[in-house]
Amino acid sequence: MIRTLSEVYAAQLRTSLAVQFQYRASLAIWMIGRVLQPLIYLVVWTTVARARGGDVNGYGEADFAAYYIMQMVVTQATFSWIMWEYDYIIRSGQFNFKLLRPIHPIHADVADNLAYKLLTVVILIPAVFFLAWLFPPTFNPQVWSITAGVFAIVLAFLLRFTIDWTLAMCALWTSRVRAINQTYELTLIFLSGYFAPLAVMPVWIQNIANFLPFRWIIAFPIELTLGRLTPMETLLGFGMQLFWLAVAQVALSLVWRAGVKQYSAVGS
């Protein structure tokens, strides 16, 4: 079972890579935006830090630099566009073909997503060095925190993809998916540590963020890799990631089953 699944992933990955490679110009243009975003926030907060005499809640200029460089990496690693696509996939009848295959459609989508990341790493790595050169970051890595950080990023990807894919299934019930997706993204931006380190956000936002899965997708892997967490906090973080992953998995299988039932009652 595992052998065939990995074969499917390998084959699907090859296909996606071949397809996306043809659109590499578009991918490159997309990346401009994705590199620019953390850069903008970095500049804004650096300006604020300078105005406050060097420090905002424990983050100096170099700390912000390190944070946003890492944010760019983590965002790129966990990001997906799947919930924007599914409305089209369903309306166009493509979903029928996904249903006819003897495997769960999520696998093809994961492979497609991974292909995108493999291709764009070629732009991501230079971008990291470029930002680091422009805004020298503090980076005192410890081997254990970097290693743990890698695992945290992988878990973060799984968690975020599960949530995103479950959200994508909403297209089976309504065509107003844009509103749902936009709300989700807005929440993510402010409550995950994407817009700014959570330490810098108003306290009430920090409190809300602790009850949602988003900070474990973005903020936790960043803080961990940068060596800002104690071993205790790290364990707690992993625990939360696994907890939310379990919750998301349950949600996904429930929504999927209900979704297929809904779809097969109505058709496309």
Binding site: A10, A11, T15, Q22, N96, L99, L100, P102, G267
Partner: protein, 329 residues
Amino acid sequence: MAEPVIILENLSKTYLVPERDAGVMAAARSLVQRRHREIKAVDRVSFQVDSGEVVGFLGPNGAGKTTTLKMLSGLLHPTAGVGRVLDFEPWQRQRDFLKVITLVMGQRNQLNWDIPASDSFELNRVIYRVPPTQYRETLAELTDLLDLGPLVSKPVRNLSLGERMKCEIAAALLHRPQVLFLDEPTIGLDVTAQRRIREFIREYNHRHNATILLTSHYMADVEALCKRVVVIHHGRILFDGPLTDLVKRFSPHKTIGIEFEHQVEAVDYSTFGAVIEQSDSRVTLRVAKSDTAKVAGRLLAELPVSDLTIEDPPIEEVIEQVFAQEVAP
């Protein structure tokens, strides 16, 4: 020994469509109280298909053909009734079921546009877990029968409609399914391509004893491939039996074509039948079936006929008659 492979018993699919009149008042009312209209897309359809049969599934647009095929392939679940394919309940969508069927939709592509067909084939091979030796054999056979050759290495985007359809069909058959649902596979193709695909289907059925349920608007497809047809209209079965019987039952006419030995002056044919075509040396008449023998006899006796042929009207006409007879609910 032929066994039923596809079984439908009183299979039904009803949709509830919200109904609303125009105007502001009606819009406001509909917020509180929703009215629904029932649309019976498939209405208590029953028939069986034996292993190895090629059955033509005919009906005008909106008759319920595609809905039935979608139910049999598991994409839709019925509102009522029983449907079984190879002893599976299709809408359970079990893995083993999905591996033994295939659905080809004439106007939709499962092939990826940007890459050569052969890459999509490879992907299917892995997804359907086709053993390498069987895959090679199947691919060779399909390439040969469909004359794929160089087509598979070009990006699908660059293929013509007919070439694309051939590749689509190949992709759908790589896992050697036992049951084929073909929904208008030849639509929009030129005559040569249509004939090619028809020949392929016949050959495939012959070699693998695959069970095939085929819908098409082209009578040429049906005449060439299907000994048996099931006619559906407004969700109900109108006819299920040999194609020849369809003509016999539903066509109340026959056509008589006569050729003359020499030119004749104007003849009033109204006593014989309705004139369909007329030229100096030929006349084609439409005659009521019951009168055919009598009229033929009279023509031979009264006119200098050198050749007389009696034919059934073209099947398209017959089908049109069938559809026209059914009164919409």
